[in-house]
C-alpha cells in the first residue's frame, strides 16, 4: 500500500484546442491546484486523436491516457467530438481485450469556461489510477 501511495502515475492528456485546452488555461488563470502527473498535448479537435496515439502512449510507458474535448453538440468542427466518442468506445474494448484495465483510459468533456472542472478531472483521474499501480502490459521494455 505504501508503495502505491508513493507511486505517481504518468498521464498523457490530449486536449482539444477550442475547449479543454482553454479550460486548462482558465484553471491556471484561477490558480486552481491539481496534481502535476498529466502532461498536456494540445490537438485541433478530439476527432483528430487516432487510436494509435493512445496505444502509442501506453506503449511508451503511460499509466493513463486522457482525451478531453468539447461537450457533445459544441464541437468547433461540427461533429469531431462525436467521431471521437465512437472511436473511444472502441479503444476501451480493445484495451480490455488485450488485458489493459480499460479505466486507464478516460474521456472527458470540459469547455473553455470550466477551469475548475478541468482541475477536478485531472485530480480524479490521478486518484483513480493510483490503486491500479504502474501499467506494464503494453509498456515496451526499456531500450538499452
Amino acid at each position: 500500500m505504501s508503495e502505491q501511495q508513493n507511486y505517481e502515475p504518468r498521464v498523457v492528456a490530449f486536449l482539444c484546442k477550442w475547449c479543454s485546452s482553454a479550460g486548462s488555461d482558465l484553471a491556471g488563470v484561477s490558480r486552481i491546484q491539481y496534481p502535476a502527473n498529466a502532461t498536456p498535448i494540445t490537438i485541433p479537435c478530439t476527432g483528430a486523436v487516432s487510436p494509435m496515439y493512445i496505444l502509442s502512449a501506453f506503449n511508451k510507458g503511460a499509466d493513463g491516457v486522457l482525451v478531453s474535448g468539447c461537450h457533445i453538440g459544441d464541437c468547433h468542427y461540427i461533429e469531431g467530438n462525436f467521431l471521437a466518442r465512437r472511436k473511444m468506445h472502441l479503444i476501451m474494448e480493445l484495451l480490455e481485450f488485450i488485458g489493459v484495465e480499460p479505466n486507464r483510459f478516460r474521456m472527458s468533456w470540459v469547455s473553455a469556461a470550466e477551469g475548475a472542472k478541468f482541475a477536478q478531472v485531472i485530480t480524479d483521474f490521478v486518484d483513480d489510477l493510483k490503486p491500479l499501480g504502474p501499467q506494464e502490459k503494453l509498456k515496451k521494455a526499456e531500450r538499452a
Binding site: 482558465l26 488563470v29 491546484q33 491539481y34 485541433p44 483528430a48 487516432s50 453538440g73 472511436k87
Partner: protein, 649 residues
C-alpha cells in the same frame, strides 16, 4: 532531414513562472536536445527588450525555428511568430510551450512543476523539429456584415457599420426591433424617456440604404469562416404586407382570439393579429400563426375581410434566405431569471408581485395603464410598494452566483418613478449592498434616498405571500437586527439578468462558447472583450454579460469598429494548418472522405484530394486513415508520436 537549428527561449514571467518552475533547469535540459542550437532565459520575454533579444538571437545564431516556453499560446503565439518573421524566418516554425497556465500556476511543488515544464517544453521542441515553413492562405473577404439581435446593442452596431459604408443584414427574432429598451419607460441616471432616444435610431436603421432589415426571422445554420460566412435564415411569415398595412387597427377590433401579450409581459392581452408597440419597426401588424384560428376564410377570415388596404395574405409561407457575410455581431440580449425557480418569492404566482420589466410597462405612457401606476389585481393606485433587489442574483447555492450589475440602479429609478407618480406613497427597498459605480450613478441613488424619501432596508426577504388583499413581505433589517413585516400593496422584484433563450440557441448554431453562467464567452476577459473565440464573430450587449445601456452602446460601437477593421482588408490570411495527402501511401479507401465534417475531401483517380478552401484542419481525416496517408500540416501523426514520447521520457 537536415538538422534543425532551434532556439528555445524560456520566460520567467516575473515570478509567475520562475517561482514554481526552475527555469534555468528547463533551459539547460532543452540545450541537451539534438535540434536545439541556442537557449536563453529572460525575465519578461514579451517585453520590448525580450522580443528584440529573440530577433537578435535568431539572426546571430542562424536559427531556423524557435520555441518560446511561456504563457498560453492564446496570449503570445502571434507576438513571437511576428518576431520570427521579423528575424527573417518562417512564422510557422515558431511554437509556444505553455508552462504558465498549464504548469507553474497550477502546481506549487517546484520539483514536480519543473519536471512537467521540461516535458511540455521537450514535446514542443520535438514538434518544431518537424514543422514545415508554411505560408498563410490568402482568401477574399465578403465586404458585408450581419448583426443578430435587434436590441439597442444590435441597432447601434448595425448603424455604426452601415455608416462606414458597409452593407449590414440585421436579423431579429421578434416582429419589431428595439429589444428590452423599447419596454423601458425612463432610464437612469438621467430619467430621459427610453423610447424617445431609441425610436429615432430605429427609424434611421429602417431607412438606411446600407441596411437590410429582417425581422421575425431566425438564423438556422452557419457555414464558412472569418471573411466568408454563409448564413441560412428562416423568415417566418407575418401574413401582413408591411408596405400595404396602413396601421388602421381595424383588424384587431374584429379578431376573436385573445391571448396574453408577451410584449407587455402578460400585463395585458392582445389579439392573434397585433402590433407589438406603437413604435414598432417595421410599422406593421403581424398575424401570429400559432394562435390564429386557422388562416382560413372558412374558419374565420375576419381580419382579411375588414382590411381595406388588402394587406393580409393567408398564403404567405416561411422562406429560407441565404446571406453571405464576412463578419457577424451577436447581440441577442437577456431575459429575466424565471420566477418559477423562486418559491420563496411566490414563484410568479402571487398577485401584485411584478418583475422589473412589468413595472417599466406600468410607468410607460405607451403601456397598458397609459403611464399610471395601478396594481394589476384591482387597478388601484398602490400606496406602499416594496422593491426587492438581488432576487436570484449573488446566490451561488440556489440561483445565480453573479451580480446582475444594473438592478441597484434600476430599483433606485423605480423608487423615484413611483414617488413621482404617487407623491404620497411609501417606497421600501430591500438591498444587500448598493453598487452604484458609474458616472452620476451614486448621486442618483443618494437622490432616491434623500429627496424621494425612500426607505432602504438592508437585508434579504425570506418570504412573501398574499394576506388580506395585500402582499405580506417578511424580511430582516440586518442593520437594526430586527425582523420586518410589511403588508404591501405591490411588490417589485429586481430579478437576475440571464442570457436570453435566443442567446443559448444562437451559441449552439454559431458554435461560439458560453461562460459558466451561459453568457457568450469573450476571447479574452481583458484584452479581447468584444470578440468571440471564433474569428470574425463579435459580441455586444447583455448577451455577453449583464450591462446597462451606456455600456451596451459602447460595446456595440467597439464590435462595429472590429467588423469595419476586418472588412477593410481586401484579403485575409487563413492559417495554413490544413490536411495534406501523401499519394504514395493513399489506397483510395475513402475512409477520410466520410470522416471529414466539411466535405473537403474527394477521391480522384483512386487517391484522396483535399480542397484547401474547405479544409478547416480539424484532423478527423488523419485519425481515421489506416495508412497514415493524410495529415494536418505541422500537426502530423509523426509529430504527435514524438510529442507523446517526450511527455513520457
Amino acid at each position: 532531414m537536415t538538422k534543425k537549428r532551434t532556439g528555445v527561449f524560456v520566460c520567467h514571467c516575473g515570478t509567475n513562472i520562475a517561482a514554481t518552475v526552475d527555469v534555468a533547469r528547463v533551459a539547460k535540459e532543452m540545450a541537451g536536445e539534438d535540434s536545439v542550437a541556442f537557449t536563453k532565459e529572460y525575465v519578461y520575454m514579451c517585453s520590448e527588450p525580450g522580443q528584440e533579444s529573440v530577433v537578435q538571437a535568431i539572426k546571430d545564431n542562424k536559427l531556423d525555428s524557435i520555441v518560446v516556453t511561456c504563457c498560453s499560446p492564446n496570449l503570445h503565439e502571434k507576438t513571437f511568430r511576428d518576431n520570427a518573421k521579423r528575424a527573417g524566418i518562417n512564422n510557422f516554425t515558431c511554437e509556444i510551450a505553455n508552462i504558465r497556465e498549464q504548469c507553474s500556476w497550477v502546481h506549487n511543488d517546484k520539483a514536480k512543476g519543473t519536471e512537467k515544464a521540461i516535458k511540455i517544453s521537450r514535446s514542443v521542441v520535438r514538434r518544431v523539429n518537424r514543422n514545415q515553413p508554411l505560408e498563410s492562405i490568402a482568401v477574399n473577404v465578403t465586404r458585408r456584415a450581419m448583426v443578430i439581435g435587434g436590441g439597442i446593442a444590435g441597432i447601434q452596431a448595425a448603424l455604426d457599420i452601415a455608416n462606414a459604408g458597409v452593407e449590414v443584414v440585421l436579423v431579429e427574432k421578434q416582429a419589431t426591433i428595439g429589444g428590452r429598451m423599447l419596454q423601458l419607460s425612463e432610464t437612469f441616471p438621467t430619467l430621459d424617456c427610453s423610447q424617445c432616444v431609441l425610436s429615432p435610431k430605429m427609424v434611421e436603421l429602417k431607412r438606411h440604404p446600407k441596411v437590410k432589415l429582417m425581422t421575425y426571422s431566425e438564423v438556422q445554420e452557419l457555414a464558412g469562416s472569418v471573411g466568408n460566412f454563409r448564413v441560412k435564415i428562416l423568415k417566418k411569415p407575418t401574413f401582413v404586407d408591411p408596405d400595404k398595412c396602413k396601421l388602421c387597427d381595424e383588424c384587431t377590433a374584429v379578431c376573436p382570439v385573445v391571448v396574453p401579450n408577451e410584449y407587455e409581459i402578460n400585463l395585458t392581452t392582445r389579439r392573434a393579429i397585433y402590433i407589438p408597440y406603437a413604435q414598432s419597426i417595421p410599422a406593421s401588424y403581424t398575424l401570429d400563426e400559432s394562435t390564429c384560428l386557422g388562416l382560413n376564410p372558412v374558419v374565420c377570415g375576419k381580419c382579411k375581410d375588414v382590411c381595406e388596404a388588402d394587406a393580409i395574405n393567408y398564403d404567405m409561407r416561411p422562406e429560407t434566405v441565404t446571406e453571405d457575410v464576412g463578419a457577424i455581431v451577436v447581440a441577442t440580449g437577456f431575459d429575466l431569471y424565471d420566477q418559477a425557480n423562486m418559491p420563496e418569492m411566490g414563484g410568479g404566482k402571487v398577485e401584485d408581485v411584478l418583475d422589473g420589466l412589468q413595472f417599466e410597462r406600468l410607468c410607460s405612457a405607451s403601456g397598458a395603464t397609459g403611464g399610471h401606476i395601478l396594481r394589476p389585481s384591482d387597478h388601484k393606485e398602490p400606496k406602499n410598494v416594496v422593491f426587492i433587489q438581488c432576487v436570484g442574483s449573488r446566490d451561488p447555492a440556489k440561483h445565480c452566483a453573479y451580480c446582475s450589475k444594473i438592478c441597484c440602479m434600476y430599483t433606485a429609478k423605480h423608487a423615484q418613478l413611483y414617488k413621482h407618480h404617487v407623491p404620497d406613497g411609501r417606497a421600501y427597498v430591500f438591498y444587500i449592498d448598493i453598487r452604484s459605480g458609474g458616472k452620476g450613478y451614486e448621486e442618483f441613488v443618494q437622490r432616491t434616498m434623500e429627496d424621494n424619501d425612500t426607505l432602504y432596508l438592508r437585508g434579504r426577504v425570506s418570504r412573501l405571500y398574499r394576506h388580506n388583499g395585500k402582499v405580506r413581505v417578511l424580511g430582516t433589517d440586518t442593520l437594526s437586527g430586527q425582523n420586518v413585516e410589511i403588508d404591501a400593496d405591490m411588490v417589485v422584484l429586481a430579478l437576475a439578468m440571464v442570457p436570453s433563450k435566443g442567446t443559448t440557441e444562437i451559441a449552439k448554431i454559431l458554435k461560439i462558447g458560453r461562460d459558466k453562467d451561459g453568457f457568450l464567452a469573450e476571447a479574452h476577459p481583458k484584452l479581447r472583450p468584444v470578440e468571440s473565440v471564433t474569428g470574425g464573430i463579435y459580441l455586444a450587449g447583455a448577451a455577453q454579460a449583464p450591462k446597462d445601456i451606456p455600456e451596451t452602446v459602447a460595446q456595440a460601437g467597439a464590435a462595429a469598429a472590429k467588423v469595419i477593421a476586418l472588412l477593410s482588408q481586401s484579403t485575409l490570411s487563413r492559417p495554413p494548418l490544413i490536411a495534406k495527402v501523401r499519394p504514395s501511401h493513399c489506397t483510395g479507401c475513402g475512409m477520410c472522405v466520410d470522416a471529414c465534417p466539411f466535405l473537403a475531401i474527394r477521391l480522384e483517380n483512386g487517391k484522396a484530394i483535399v480542397n484547401e478552401a474547405l479544409c478547416e484542419g480539424c484532423g478527423s481525416c488523419s485519425a481515421t486513415c489506416l495508412r497514415a496517408a493524410i495529415d494536418v500540416k505541422n500537426v502530423t501523426q509523426l509529430q504527435i508520436f514524438e510529442m507523446i514520447e517526450a511527455c513520457l521520457a
